[in-house]
Symmetry: C2
Subunit: 325 residues, 2 copies
């Protein structure tokens, strides 16, 4: 589920950007493992000063008609109900549309309407295709003239994630993930990030723990944490605070203010709070930092699944739900 990720970033680095009308505003529409690829693209876009937003619902936000973004419909299966509904809404508004999928109904719509599209390799769980999906979204931003060639950041992400995984041998990342997973056992994981790369990685951690380890998990970001959530963890009764484990995603790109807040916050929580662990991103580009911080969560989620004796691949309850919707 994780081993193939570095090669996915390499695959995306070799893609040709599709030809698109120039755009300066982007809205990625997608859910779950496909939708979070939009959050990664938004981090890279934000780092480059580009306006990329993500919509995780049916239809489109009401401002879409006024802002007129290029809509990037991302659905790994190509059959996600919410994403198909977003494309239908975008068609009614006559917005430009680009597509990322493995096929399905979405690919058919793209073909019928000659929407620019990128077909990613099939056969994976959407959440295991992050490198393909992020890379494809970045190539679409590039095709629309908003981003310069993303190949370098994609290759850096490939190498940095590969280095964490270790080539055949257990890498440093696995050891660290193992100790974090042990500490989180039997707790609700709470993941704290800050801006950009660590915020999207925190989101990825929580969702990978949900789906792979079948556990609840939540995320939030600094400095907002210091304006409310801190109070909860600083004073919670022991039976509540024992129930959770906090993991802080530190990013080498974080500002001095944020570093200081994290250090002081950990100090203030020391006596009272549950487990508080830290994981640092590596790499230089925003993408590599997000990718490495996120990969650590992927590893932790699979280790938590092992400990709990659950299958990281199956998500039966989502299948049950889809069948009944």
């Amino acid at each position: 589920m994780i081993e193939g990720l570095p090669d996915q970033y390499r695959w995306a680095a070799r893609l040709d950007p599709p030809e698109l009308a120039a755009a300066s505003s982007f809205l990625v529409c997608g859910m779950g493992g496909s939708g979070i690829s939009g959050d990664f693209a938004a981090v890279v876009g934000a780092d480059a000063g580009i306006d990329v937003r993500v919509h995780k619902d049916y239809g489109l936000p009401a401002w879409a008609g006024a802002v007129r973004p290029l809509v990037i419909a991302a659905s790994y299966s190509g059959n996600t109900a919410e994403t198909l509904s977003a494309v239908e809404a975008a068609r009614r508004l006559d917005l430009d549309i680009a597509v990322v999928s493995t096929g399905g109904e979405l690919a058919g719509i793209a073909e019928d309407n000659a929407y620019p599209s990128i077909t990613v390799p099939p056969g994976l769980q959407p959440r295991a295709a992050l490198g393909y999906l992020v890379g494809a979204a970045l190539q679409i931003l590039t095709g629309a003239g908003a981003l310069s060639d993303p190949a370098q950041a994609l290759l850096e992400s490939a190498n940095a994630t590969e280095s964490l995984l270790g080539s055949g041998e257990p890498g440093a990342g696995r050891d660290r993930a193992g100790s974090i997973a042990t500490a989180l056992e039997g707790r609700v994981p709470i993941i704290w990030g800050s801006a950009g790369p660590s915020a999207v990685a925190a989101q990825r951690w929580a969702k990978q723990i949900n789906e792979n380890a079948k556990l609840p998990a939540y995320y939030s970001t600094m400095p907002e944490i210091d304006h409310n959530e801190l109070v909860g963890w600083g004073s919670a009764p022991a039976e509540v605070s024992r129930s959770a484990g906090i993991v802080i995603l530190r990013d080498k790109g974080e500002t001095a203010e944020i570093s200081r807040r994290f250090d002081l916050t950990v100090e203030l929580l020391r006596d009272q709070a549950p487990f508080v662990g830290e994981v640092w991103s590596s790499g230089e580009s925003a993408l590599a930092r997000a990718a490495t911080a996120a990969l650590m969560g992927d590893l932790v989620s699979v280790l938590l699944a092992e400990v709990a004796g659950v299958d990281p691949v199956q998500v039966d309850i989502i299948t049950q739900l889809k069948n009944r919707l």
Copy 2:
């Protein structure tokens, strides 16, 4: 802390919108109780097709230079470090700036630079001034020509929240809040919303529980919940699922797809999950629906504080942190 809220909406309904250059894109910069007023304004804006975003960090997002939104700096104290830093960044980019505060450094900057500003009544905790802060933000959107007169929605919100509180007598809202608070006792509250009004209300619940009841609390939104979080709650071991209580904020404006998802999700969780309760919004406008759903969380948070024997007003740990930053 809550009783004055209806009159705050009435106060805001009587405000004259400040005179501003026309704008079509808005960025509210603020933290904690001030920042969430931006989220409320964004919900009202989205409902009207207006592009309103919220920034909860130092500085500005990197796309601000390209999009050039009107920056609304909201800080109840007027001295929030992150918000002052956002104003400084907006000045460097020569963006239009409007201010909401009770005074402080921010009011001084507004006066020195002749920024349009609204001064709200002082003497409250920022989170207890939600009606003032939301109303002021909406009047700024109106002054910039993006929103038509918000007085009707503000008055509806005043009446709807007053009706929940009951006039002198315990209202229906208090009874319902009491039963929810009892069910949440000793658990980590997890609040689920969907789009717009219920999403912002879910956020408000979590943060009010943090600050008033000194408990951790988290929120997330449907339909994304069904793509990942559901797996965690559907299969979590009993010792984990017992630790949490889920409250679903239902909104009379939610679509048929979302209603169906909530109903099916609750059914799927019935045997396995922790407490799952529902709270419905009331009122017609997006603002009144957000305000009523949020008020129920305010009530629950204060009741949870009573049960735990903690003072809802004090947030000592934030004061400690600020003194050391």
